[in-house]
């Protein structure tokens, strides 16, 4: 089970958070601390090291895509190589949705990034393994939102 998936850009040594999804209940303060520690650790990694690191009793898997680091924290017995594939799949989904996704897309449309994530993962597990299926669901949800807005004759969100 994945406990956390997050995305941040390097900013000095601590990183600026662009997205974080927790799958385990923890108090707010502890969440902040964990994310802070994790991002510091990942940003401190030298080039040409592998994408995995151990932290406390968790495995951290991270991958850098242009100016963004995508990162997840796993249980000890999870398959790290598959976690890399999961991160990659998520980036692909974002890319498909936004068309050549860049960091600004995720900043200004963060809620969409979450909606997409919620179609891909659930409770820390992979929910759907077909890219197309997820894309279809998101499209349909977006249309539903617009349709209802039109129906209520209120401006679109």
């Amino acid at each position: 089970q994945t406990h956390l998936i997050c995305c941040f850009s390097p900013n000095n040594r601590q990183g600026k958070l662009r997205l974080q999804k927790w799958f385990t209940p923890l108090p707010e303060r502890e969440r902040k601390k964990i994310v802070r520690d994790m991002t510091t650790l990942v940003l401190a990694r030298k080039p040409r090291t592998c994408n995995f690191l151990h932290w406390k009793d968790l495995k951290i898997v991270y991958k850098r895509y242009a100016s963004l680091y995508f990162c997840c924290a796993l249980e000890e017995q999870e398959n790290e190589l598959l976690a890399l594939e999961i991160l990659h799949r998520y980036v692909e989904l974002l890319d498909k949705y936004f068309g050549n996704v860049c960091e600004l897309d995720i900043i200004f449309n963060f809620e969409k990034a979450y909606f997409i994530l919620d179609e891909f993962l659930m409770g820390g597990e992979v929910q759907e393994t077909s890219k197309q299926s997820i894309a279809n669901s998101i499209e349909a949800s977006d249309m539903l939102q617009e349709t209802m807005e039109e129906y209520m004759s209120k401006p679109a969100f």
């Binding site: 089970q1 958070l17 662009r18 997205l19 974080q20 999804k21 799958f23 209940p25 923890l26 108090p27 902040k32 040409r48 090291t49 592998c50 994408n51 995995f52 690191l53 398959n79 790290e80 190589l81 598959l82 890399l84 594939e85 999961i86 990659h88 799949r89 900043i107 200004f108 963060f110 809620e111 979450y114 909606f115 919620d118 659930m122 409770g123 597990e125 992979v126 929910q127 759907e128 393994t129 077909s130 890219k131 197309q132 299926s133 669901s137 349909a140 949800s141 539903l144 939102q145 209802m148 807005e149 209520m152 209120k154 401006p155 679109a156 969100f157």
Partner: protein
């Protein structure tokens, strides 16, 4: 201004803030406005406001006042408001907040909504932050949805069920019946969810696990379908058909096959097929292969399959991708004990990984290499390890050094090799070795008597080159002090001859004494070595005398005390000097576990008198390493210098000052050898004294000494005296008598209580005095060990 622009406008404004302070100001103003609008129940802008709040929350600012707004929005009939409301709930609410309970009803309603996208929101939120109570409430709903006809909902309901079981394990029973039937679904999303659900159920309930074993053939079929199927664009990742699903199925098979022959047999062929057919050029394939290997190693697989799995790991080691090399080594580490030979085949590649640039790969390569050391490969492997030691990152040095020592001790092909190896480590990484290295090495050196000359030459050379590595300097000083005469003699077959004069040697020692790099312990070694040389050199004794007297006023109390005592040895006790500074006997090694320690093992097996009987160069009085035994304190009466008749058993001489001077090897204390209770500690002239352990606690031991007599006549005036290390307290109860009857007719027993509050290595020296057949005997026996369980 259109609302959506307002959110994006806010983001733009925040990003353009030049300082943290400015940003904080913008956000505080905005939050105040949002708070106000929440209070006013502004219908139009609610979702936009919440979205803004969520953004601000992500930046790290407090947003708890938005919690109730989430609750309100979730209850709204509008999809857009529900969508952001549920997102807000997942971000701001967790099961600890009271507000989370308030959304339970909304979730319940939405689970039955006509739009599947609304149902999806509810399911997702429940699976993300549902508390145990919410889960209990809504479990029946989820179970109903599991059987729904819509695969979109089914897959989500399945994962929601997984969450429920994680929170409330007892509810597993509710979902077990549906779980199995889900395996016949065609939709990959549902299938994946089903596998996850079954895995969760099996991990929590062994009965369920037994039950689901009958699903193994079905799972095997599904896997086969995935592996053998042609290209399926919908699920293809780098040539692998749905690696996510494959990995989950493999993991489930692992759980089902563990400890069960039948299930393991049923999946054997499939695993072989996956292992051979999966293309591992990309990560997706490697992920599947990795999971396969883990499964093979964990179930009861055939040996052929296991070898296949290890070979896959070996192939991974050669992969260009660093990640794959890393996980390969992690896996090899896990199996190196159980499948040692299979892993040995890949030793070459593993050793190559010692040169990898990634420190975590190097660390694993080091651990693996150390695990693979054997008597066959020790020489070649040690070369690589020593090379690694000189180039490895500093954080790995201590680990490498101690690993090398352990390996060397276990498999050293010769004593000389062993000494060379340790010296090499001390020169390369001397500051990173553990404290007990010094006494261990000294013990090793003393036991290799043929190599004394070679060793002292080598150490002298090392000392002259570099005095910064403390452990090396300490050992070198000790050796020079001990074997200085061999050094001065000049010729040594094993190394090039070098002319060393007495002045050279004393210079070297004085340099150590005066250097600011030398630690206090090192200086103590050097001073004592200098003193010892006074009996091994001929010309420069005066120089030694003056060195020693200078240090009599040294600031360091330890050095000062030694110097004063050595001074006394020069003046008042000069007649004893030669005896006191005699060559040391071979030190008893506690734990021995290598071929080369065979001599010591023989010594230990003789349970007679425990004083090692080693031929010494000039043998008048043999002095034990006695710093641990305070013969002045502890025992009933001080042991006087023995006037025992010359016997084959050398007895220690002990005087007051003698004991203090023999504080030569600060830390040398051989570990106790595991001994069974009822051990014979003395056996001579028909008298047998055995030690029996009556009672032991963490800090005290009660023993009984039993004396029996097998001769024809009684043994009279029998008495025992005992001495123990300084921090231990001794209490001897009255003996049962002082006559040991003949023919083993009776025993004399005496109880001794040892109090060991500091939990030091326990030793006891016992002096036996008795009259037998007209002559008076007095012997000493050393007990180096008490039953090991005393201190476990």
């Amino acid at each position: 201004m259109s609302p959506s622009v307002r959110l994006q406008e806010l983001i733009r404004v925040i990003r353009s803030a030049r300082t943290q302070c400015e940003e904080r100001g913008v956000i505080q103003r905005e939050c105040a406005a949002i708070r106000e609008q929440f209070r006013q129940n502004d219908n139009g802008g609610r979702s936009h406001n919440l979205a803004k709040l969520l953004y601000v929350h992500m930046l790290g600012y407090p947003a708890h006042f938005g919690q109730m707004e989430c609750v309100r929005l979730i209850a709204s009939p509008r999809y857009s408001e529900k969508r952001i409301g549920y997102l807000g709930a997942m971000m701001l609410l967790d099961e600890k907040q009271d507000a989370s309970l308030l959304i339970t009803n909304s979730i319940k309603n939405d689970l039955s909504h006509s739009s599947q996208y609304v149902q999806s929101l509810a399911l997702c939120t429940l699976a993300c932050m549902g508390s145990a109570e919410m889960c209990r409430d809504l479990a029946p709903e989820i179970e109903r949805l599991l059987k729904a006809s819509n695969s979109y909902i089914k897959k989500k309901a399945t994962l929601c069920a997984v969450h429920i079981i994680r929170k409330v394990p007892e509810l597993g029973e509710m979902f077990t019946p549906s779980a199995h039937s889900l395996l016949s679904e065609k939709n990959h999303g549902v299938l994946h969810g089903a596998v996850v659900l079954i895995t969760e159920l099996c991990e929590r309930n062994t009965q369920t696990l037994d039950n689901f074993r009958k699903a193994v053939p079905e799972l095997v079929q599904i896997m086969k379908g995935l592996v053998m199927s042609g290209y399926s664009p919908e699920h293809n990742v780098a040539g692998i058909s749905d690696p996510f699903l494959q990995v989950r199925i493999l993991r489930l098979l692992r759980i089902l096959g563990r400890n069960n022959d039948r299930a393991s047999d049923a999946m054997n062929d499939l695993l072989a097929q996956v292992a051979t057919n999966t293309d591992s050029t990309k990560t997706a394939g490697s992920a599947v292969l990795y999971e396969t290997v883990l499964t093979v190693m964990d179930i009861r697989s055939e040996s052929g399959l296991r070898v296949l799995a290890v070979n896959i790991l070996g192939r991974f080691l050669l992969n260009n991708d660093r990640n794959i090399r890393y996980i390969s080594m992690t896996s090899l580490l896990k199996i190196v004990q159980t499948d040692h030979n299979a892993v040995q085949r890949h030793r070459g590649t593993i050793v190559d990984c010692l040169k990898d640039q990634d420190a975590s790969v190097q660390r694993r390569a080091l651990e693996l290499s150390l695990a693979l050391v054997s008597s066959v490969n020790i020489r070649s492997l040690m070369k690589e390890l020593l090379l690694f030691l000189s180039t490895c990152p500093p954080e790995l040095r201590a680990h490498a050094a101690s690993g090398i020592f352990i390996a060397a001790e276990k498999y050293a092909p010769s004593q000389r090799w062993h000494i060379d190896t340790i010296l090499h480590v001390l020169t390369t990484a001397g500051s990173d070795v553990r404290d007990e290295t010094v006494p261990n090495l000294i013990q090793l050196i003393t036991s290799a008597s043929e190599l004394h000359c070679y060793t002292v030459h080598k150490l002298y050379r090392a000392l002259v080159t570099d005095i910064s590595q403390q452990p090396l300097v300490q050992v070198a000083c000790w050796c020079i002090g001990e074997y200085g005469d061999l050094l001065l003699k000049g010729d040594c077959e094993e190394t090039e001859p070098v002319q060393v004069t007495e002045d050279d040697v004393l210079d070297a020692l004085e340099t150590v004494l005066q250097s600011h790099m030398s630690s206090p312990a090192t200086r103590a070694f050097a001073l004592t070595a200098t003193m010892k040389l006074s009996t091994r050199i001929t010309e420069n004794v005066d120089r030694i005398r003056s060195i020693v007297s200078i240090y009599g006023s040294c600031i360091d109390v330890e050095l000062q005390q030694r110097a004063v005592e050595y001074n006394a040895l020069f003046r008042k006790y000069d007649h004893m000097r030669a005896a006191v500074l005699e060559r040391m006997p071979v030190i008893d090694k506690g734990q021995t576990n290598g071929e080369m320690s065979a001599n010591n093992i023989k010594d230990l097996e003789q349970t007679d008198v425990k004083i090692p009987e080693v031929p010494l160069p000039s043998n008048q009085l043999c002095l034990e390493v006695c710093d641990l035994l305070d013969l002045l304190g502890g025992s009933e009466e001080p042991l006087q210098p023995s006037q025992a008749p010359p016997s084959s058993v050398p007895t220690p001489s002990s005087t007051g000052t003698g004991q203090d001077l023999l504080d030569l090897l600060g830390g040398v204390c051989p570990a106790p050898v595991p001994v069974v209770t009822g051990v014979t500690v003395y056996e001579k002239n028909g008298l047998t004294v055995t030690l029996q352990c009556d009672q032991r606690t963490e800090t005290s031991v009660t023993v009984s000494l039993l004396a029996s007599n097998s001769t024809d006549s009684d043994i009279t005036s029998f008495s025992l005296q005992a001495a123990v290390p300084k921090s231990v307290q001794l209490q001897m109860k009255a003996p049962s008598g002082d006559v040991v009857p003949a023919h083993g007719a009776g025993q004399v027993t005496q109880t001794v209580i040892l109090m060991n509050p500091n939990k030091v290595n326990l030793k006891m020296r016992v002096r036996v005095s008795y009259s037998s057949q007209g002559s008076f005997c007095q012997d000493t026996a050393q007990i180096d060990s008490f039953p090991t369980t005393a201190w476990s």
